[in-house]
Symmetry: C2
Subunit: 219 residues, 2 copies
DNA sequence: TAAATATTCAAGCGATTACTTGATTGCTAA
DNA sequence: TTAGCAATCAAGTAATCGCTTGAATATTTA
């Protein structure tokens, strides 16, 4: 009986241990955008294929992701939306209690972060009222796998070329992968530079989806 | 910039790594009941004092707990309520995706768990209406550090002796430390045996407090 | 059937972690 | 000042982890 508790704690520890490495957190972050093969993840993270494979198996053993063979590839995906919640909780607690995070963020985001982010609730309301243009700056594949309803997809590198697609009168709300995805910061900076009124969505697409808000796919 | 992300992931990984050991999770579980000294924690967990001290320092380095010298002792406490949320998320994801948990729980809790637990919301409502007796079966010290308003403290070992303190007509709702605390299961079993109508509260005291419901201390 | 591709396996290494033991520090009270 | 106590430190050992390298396993295409 005290024994049961320890057996369960052992299981929780296995899951926590799986989260205990930056490379695995990075992999989960990419998987939170949508399913992917080993090779794609290796290229996204910059790890060797063998190393990526081993980390993925580690995550699978912990139950955080599942895999499925499709042709030559093995496709990995998150085991469920609650994994995103767990990652959010980890991020939240770390931000709140680890001073080092402030130091790192202050060094890179200081002026940028003064661009106050908009909440999910506010974005939903203003977007449904047609008051804002929602801009998704992630790569096309990630956008197609799922995005906020009504969002326009303009990867950062194409932004300058297609500025005319954005209605000039409306405020633009940019988002990308998550709270530390630099793309959206840069998009907002670029848009403001061109005379647009622009803000960032707080967090990113995985958090939007995990909080149960409506999404659109296969755009 | 991709570098910033990696630095931050490194910080998250440190926190996750701190959660990646059954003994540390056990320590956090006890600290979720209230602050404690090293010696008390060592006795509660059955670890040596030196080992306990090292695990605690590990947790403190990760920012999950804080310490404060008080006389001869060093008192440790959780860094914040959000740590309980993180532990809940970890438990929730593990329960949902790790088959081993089902196996362990099924082996020990099967008939017991058929005693359907009552939700926090329902307990609050029925307790305020005076319809139920709330029974806290944790040790006296933990009860005094904080408990659900109106709860009666009867540690399991004193339960049989003081049965007459419980109004016989009312349903009794028992709770203790958390979802896997066996005390409340046993209390419910014992009470039913004596002819009482009894149920368990889902989870335990730390989860009650973390969800922002009212508490009472120093009873 | 053979070649090509995506992934996994197996072995080996250096680094890190968990735990024990015994010494040390810092505080309190006699 | 000294004795006693709580906690931490330091050193050593066994086990685990992360990564690389090169071979092995499927599956598809030629």
């Amino acid at each position: 009986m005290a024994d049961v508790k320890h057996q369960l704690l052992e299981q929780f520890a296995i899951v926590a241990k799986a989260l205990g490495h930056a490379h695995r957190l990075d992999l989960l972050d990419y998987l939170a955008q949508g399913e992917r093969g080993v090779d794609g993840l290796a290229r996204a993270t910059g790890l060797t294929v063998a190393n990526t494979s081993q980390h993925l198996q580690n995550l699978r053993r912990a139950g955080l992701i599942t895999s499925q063979k499709r042709g030559l590839q093995v496709i990995y995906r998150l085991a469920g939306e609650d994994v995103v919640d767990l990652l959010s909780a980890l991020r939240h607690t770390t931000e709140r209690h680890v001073a080092e995070v402030d130091r790192i963020v202050a060094g890179y985001f200081n002026e940028r972060d003064s661009l106050e982010p908009i909440s999910r609730a506010e974005l939903l309301e203003r977007s449904q009222a047609g008051l804002v243009t929602v801009l998704d700056v992630r790569p096309v594949e990630e956008f197609q796998a799922g995005h906020i309803p009504g969002a326009v997809n303009l990867p950062l590198k194409d932004l300058e070329k297609h500025l005319q697609d954005l209605p000039k009168g409306q405020e633009v709300i940019a988002y990308c992968r998550g709270p530390y995805c630099v793309l959206s910061f840069e998009a907002v900076a670029a848009l403001r530079d061109k005379g647009y009124s622009a803000r960032r969505l707080v967090d990113g697409y995985p958090e939007w989806r995990a909080s149960g808000l409506p999404i659109e796919a296969n755009g």
